[in-house]
Symmetry: C2
Subunit: 245 residues, 2 copies
DNA sequence: GCGCTATTTTGACATATATCAAGTCAAACG
DNA sequence: CGTTTGACTTGATATATGTCAAAATAGCGC
């Protein structure tokens, strides 16, 4: 089996796609089996909204952890800066996803998050979310699911970093982007990457030249069409073969 | 900064070391700020205990998820089997740690866990734990912390796999083993590894020969003393330098 | 549109790690 | 005590990816 970067099942996709047409937090990222009253209470919790311009920090390394954030639009990257100034990207977060889960155990953010494009987020104060989920079992269950999914996601990346070679990693990355695009009702084959080759490489443990070469090679093989950050997938199934699924 | 494989702070270490002298679950892995009544209720939840012999499965890939498990003694590895039969190790779990967190989001285990030596675990039925943590805020908080710590741990490994070279990974691995040994009141410099070079390599994304060569090299440099799986750390501080902390 | 800049691509070469193949060693067993 | 077996070490070589450098391209303000 292989779970790398592909951990979201079909029912979730359907639910999210429907929910996102009315892009409110409670539907965007939370379960649909709440009573109207519970929904209202949840909505009250999450009605704080903020905008971030490209490059703005959502939080910095060392900041005190207070809230999770649901991304309503745009996208963020999370990263760690090494002593020598090198950046290591630890995640790309897209609209509809929850950001900030790393910090619950420490109270302090261990990485920093910044907007890759102009973006909007809903703030989810952790203490209120915890309080409310104590009263609403299905909400509690969902919070656990969100956290566990992050674990599964990370372990997928570990698998990928530990056992795949450059081109396989890239293939997995593209499939993941494709799938997350599809979840939000966008094309599964037309990708507009928001990140540079350098950032992709940092995320996948590769150098930017290796990323570029792999893209070029895929193009030569007729798997994709590359035009800088606009990438069209021509042979989804062959990419899937490459990562073994 | 660098969080790789070293995410447990000093207060946690102290607490756990004290707690483990009376190796009962509620103290082993749960917070100490519960009332006596709450403790009792928690104890009732966790009094199911089981033994596993070397090589026994704690759970298999595809099994339905019902419970988390607290390891009382011994150690486990978690792994994924690829189609071609290759094993990829995704984690080593030692006494005092919680195993099974990957499965909460899916209801199904995505990897399998087996005992690396004769071991004992306490079963923590998830539904009961969830129910109880709804009533006890500090327990809820702790459950979240445990989950989040797993996320941090995984991200630490991602960092390690993505940015470190073979010997740096090995150094980080040894430091991590040393620290986890110390937590349980054992020597921080005398390590008895429970896993083979192959398994270490699988976990760190290296071949077994590379692991072996790196150990030999460390020995030549006077950093460690290697006698098969018994490893003595001679220069902790130099190992720390290697991983940048 | 033009020119400036950052990003991306491509090439030649270096190097870390994988691969293949012997050997060594230690535990297990007759 | 010798044999067997599996794990570990070591060596020679191959290969994927990194490094350094230059050219091509895309993005963007004017």
């Amino acid at each position: 089996m292989n779970v790398a970067l592909n951990d979201i099942n079909q029912t979730e996709i359907t639910r999210l796609r429907v929910a996102c047409s009315n892009c409110n937090l409670r539907e965007l990222c939370l379960p649909v089996d709440l009573t109207p009253d519970e929904m209202t209470r949840l909505e009250e919790l999450s009605n704080q909204k903020r905008s971030y311009a490209t490059g703005d920090y959502l939080y910095r390394s060392g900041d005190r952890f207070k809230s999770l954030h649901a991304i309503r639009s745009g996208s963020f990257k999370t990263r760690v800066l090494h002593e020598d100034g090198r950046e290591q990207v630890t995640g790309f977060l897209m609209a509809g996803e929850i950001i900030g889960l790393d910090a619950i155990s420490t109270d302090i953010h261990t990485c920093e998050a910044l907007a890759m494009e102009d973006s909007e987020v809903c703030e989810l104060p952790y203490s209120k979310l915890a309080e409310l989920s104590r009263e609403i079992p299905s909400l509690q269950r969902h919070v656990h699911k969100i956290m566990s999914r992050e674990i599964v996601r990370d372990q997928g990346i570990m698998l990928l970093l530990g056992s795949m070679r450059a081109e396989e990693r890239l293939a997995a990355f593209l499939l993941n982007m494709s799938q997350r695009n599809a979840i939000h009702g966008m094309s599964a084959t037309q990708l507009r990457l928001r990140m540079s080759r350098l950032e992709i490489g940092s995320y996948l443990g590769l150098k930017l030249e290796t990323v570029s070469r792999a893209f070029s090679h895929f193009q030569d093989e007729g798997l994709i069409q590359v035009k800088a950050r606009a990438i069209e997938i021509l042979a989804l199934s062959k990419l899937r073969e490459m990562v073994g699924k």
